[in-house]
């Protein structure tokens, strides 16, 4: 970006501001504050904790960027952003700091924008000072009087649409004494999006004003994209690391029942303020509000971020993953045992004690169980398009049953399940030109479903092991 331009503008504005400060506020005994330029990084990262013990004059250069990019695999959307990301880049200052905020509306943008920071004490939160057309820069200063985690957002009419297109982020005002040290920090925001096509409808999607007014989002997402925090983008942590997550809801409309499957929040700074609640399962976060949650993973595996208003998670995209590494700790969480009920216990449900008394042995997964697993995956993930009998829909969804493509290229089928596919495809001599999204399935499930389709629908046999899928996943 145009760095030299920015720097010179900042220098000018800074010196002008310092002159002002010298005349008014700081006239008594307060020495001139050291000037620091805020480092801005893309979420889920955020600037490091503040180590200084005194106030500073923090200069923030935030750009407004209108960008078209994927909202879901194969689905594009025009986002309006602070700093090019959804959520916007996090600002991190210390209670008592003076913040000099510069908003740069890039010349190739189309729309006017501004910023309202909830950390500001004063009407409009900066909105009036910063309303600018493309190709302009605005600035103002405010004093960060109160510590807390605050949302900022665009407040240009129609405000709901600007926010619905991704124009929100957060500013953390650390208390003077700082926050207790942790091992990892993350920055995640939830937002609701309204497209005229359905969830995961392919191609470029337009904003749907009616869905927005009706508060019926097509997508509810963490960090601005379906999959922003899953797959290769999953967050990572080690067992026993203290993790702090700065979580906010940009909205514009939908609040969050924020929950992480597989952990308990040791501490929650409720609503992003100063009071801490302990041992919380789910914390309610309002639109335009926040929470700081702290937790400590103890065992390896995936923790799953969700909005526990659950159809948002499972039908609209509000899912993220934290991949935790470390040694197994069966005394905290065991692997578990699954087996069929003994025949007599099915008949006599009143006498389960005998079955439970049998020694616990983890049985090697039997072939029938894998076959059943494959069918379950097929029914939940494939049948909706390729139909329950696997015959597909002529011209729209290619057949999986009695498919020459499948029989000749079962590995490629697994690759498609793993990575998605778009473009033309010839199956049994008929041409298809659609989009299949990548499926969020684990190695075992992909192997099971491919083998199920091979055996049940193509008179074949098992062709793929979970290990082969794992290798395939590494290479993508």
């Amino acid at each position: 970006m145009n760095k030299s331009f920015k720097l010179s503008a900042v220098t000018l504005a800074t010196s002008a501001l310092l002159a002002l400060l010298g005349n008014s506020v700081a006239s008594a005994a307060e020495p001139a504050l050291p000037v620091i330029t805020q480092e801005l990084v893309a979420p889920p990262q955020l600037p490091p904790p503040i180590t200084r013990k005194s106030a500073a004059h923090v200069v923030v250069n935030l750009t407004v960027e209108e960008v078209e990019r994927e909202i879901a695999p194969g689905t594009r959307y025009t986002f309006w952003t602070f700093g090019g990301t959804v959520p916007g880049k996090m600002i991190r200052v210390r209670e008592g700091d003076t913040v000099e905020l510069h908003l740069l509306n890039l010349p190739d943008n189309k729309l006017p924008h501004n910023i309202d920071l909830h950390a500001v004490t004063g009407p409009g939160g900066g909105a009036g000072q910063t309303l600018i057309a493309p190709g302009n820069e605005a600035s103002f200063t405010f004093k960060a009087l109160s510590s807390g985690l605050y949302v900022y957002h665009c407040a240009t009419a129609p405000v709901g649409m600007h926010v619905a297109n991704g124009m929100y982020g957060m500013i953390l005002v650390e208390p003077k004494e700082g926050l207790p040290p942790v091992d990892k920090e993350f920055y995640v925001m939830q937002g609701d999006f309204y497209t005229d096509g359905n969830y995961r409808a392919p191609g470029l999607q337009n904003f749907d004003m009616q869905k927005a007014i009706d508060e019926k989002p097509t997508y509810v997402l963490f960090n601005g994209a379906d999959g922003a925090l899953t797959g290769a983008n999953s967050l990572t942590a080690k067992a026993n690391e203290k993790v702090r997550m700065f979580f906010g809801v940009g909205g514009p409309n939908i609040t969050s029942s924020f929950h992480i499957i597989g952990t308990i929040f040791d501490r929650v700074y409720t609503e992003g303020g100063t009071k801490v609640q302990e041992n919380v399962q789910t914390t309610m976060v309002p639109a335009g509000g926040s929470a700081i949650v702290e937790f400590t993973p103890r065992v390896p595996g995936n923790l799953t971020l969700v909005d526990h208003s659950l159809t948002r998670a499972f039908n609209k995209g509000a899912i993220g993953l934290i991949s935790v590494s470390g040694p197994e700790k069966p005394e905290i969480y065991s692997k578990g045992i699954k087996k069929p009920l003994a025949a007599n216990s099915i008949a006599k449900a009143t006498a389960p004690a005998k079955a439970a008394a049998k020694p616990a042995v983890a049985a090697a997964p039997a072939a029938p169980a894998i076959h059943a697993r494959g069918k379950a995956v097929f029914d939940s993930a494939c049948a909706v398009c390729h139909q329950a009998d696997g015959k597909g829909v002529a011209g729209v969804f290619p057949p999986l049953a009695h498919s020459d493509f499948f029989q000749q290229r079962p590995y490629e089928m697994a690759h498609i399940v793993l990575n998605g596919r778009s473009g033309t495809l010839v199956v049994n001599g008929a041409k298809y030109n659609g989009v299949m999204p990548a499926q969020d399935l684990n190695d075992e499930d992909i192997s099971a479903v491919i083998n199920y389709i091979s055996v049940e629908m193509n008179d074949g046999h098992a062709v793929l092991t979970p290990e082969q899928v794992r290798e395939m996943r590494k290479k993508r």
Binding site: K110, L111, P112, L131, A133, A155, T156, A157, N206, I213
Partner: protein
């Protein structure tokens, strides 16, 4: 009505221009086409009382096409004071006509694309050169309420959604040719879907006309202001026009900001008297 804050500057612009010739672009294009619009009562998004009062729009004429690069180039050849590099910094920004290859050559931009990167002062000067002025907000809003077949299509949600698409598009491309799509009910092209447009009274739009209402400023530029001031909040496309205009200064310009001209119902066809 309220007085726009920049009136003194505008008068200065007129003084600056009063000595220059006004007959323009005989060779570059046909006489500009103005369409008569009868006016009447308008359910505006900016009611003068801040509540719901309809605006009254007097009969006027509106240029059917946006002013093009070719037309504006002819104008600056006639009135060199409006050429890039010569126009005073008081009236234009450093980005004035910056898409043109020289002070009078609009290439590589298309001849029939709408001229953009023009200040309010330059736009007003152009309109005066053809015996016109910039349209007033209520005139523009009146004309822009029409779709191809109806004088007022604003209760048609499908149409509102349709015109909104242009605003949601990130717009990195230069605007295409004017009048490449069919005109609206009044014979006017491109009121939606091509560029933003200057209006004559833009800087006075957001001031309360009623001095009895505590003289409060009705700012559009933040949440609260937008929520309490605007009527017809469903018309997002129009709200964005107002937000853009309220962000502008009269000497500024924009890559997607153009203009057309308007006249009173009985125009002085011979230019500035």
């Amino acid at each position: 009505m309220c007085t726009p804050a920049l009136r003194p500057l505008r008068l200065a612009a007129l003084v600056l221009l009063s000595a220059t010739a006004v007959s323009v672009h005989a060779s570059d294009s046909a006489m500009p086409d103005y369409r008569a619009i009868a006016g009447g009562s308008l359910r505006t998004v900016l009611p003068a009382d801040g509540v719901a009062t309809d605006a009254s729009v007097a009969p006027f004429q509106l240029r059917s096409r946006l002013v093009t690069n070719a037309e504006f180039a002819a104008f600056v050849r006639q009135q060199s004071v409006w050429q890039r590099g010569q126009a005073p910094a008081l009236f234009v920004a450093s980005t004035y006509l910056s898409g043109w290859s020289s002070a009078s050559d609009y290439r590589p931009l298309a001849a029939d694309a709408p001229v953009t990167r023009v200040s309010w002062f330059a736009a007003q000067a152009f309109c005066e050169s053809e015996g016109a002025r910039l349209p007033r907000w209520y005139e523009w809003e009146f004309g822009a309420a029409a779709d191809a077949t109806r004088a007022d299509a604003r209760d048609d949600e499908a149409w509102l959604a349709h015109i909104l698409h242009w605003y949601a598009d990130a717009g990195k491309q230069a605007p295409r040719s004017v009048a490449s799509k069919p005109p609206n009910f009044y014979g006017i092209h491109d009121l939606h879907g091509l560029v933003w447009e200057w209006v004559e009274d833009y800087s006075g739009l957001f001031v309360n006309a009623d001095s009895r209402a505590k003289g409060e400023q009705k700012l559009l530029d933040y949440c609260g202001g937008a929520a309490v001031t605007l009527a017809d909040r469903r018309n997002y496309a129009i709200l964005m026009r107002l937000a853009l205009l309220s962000a502008m200064e009269a000497q500024q310009d924009g890559a997607n900001l153009g203009f057309r001209c308007a006249r009173d119902a009985t125009p002085t066809r011979q230019g500035i008297p």
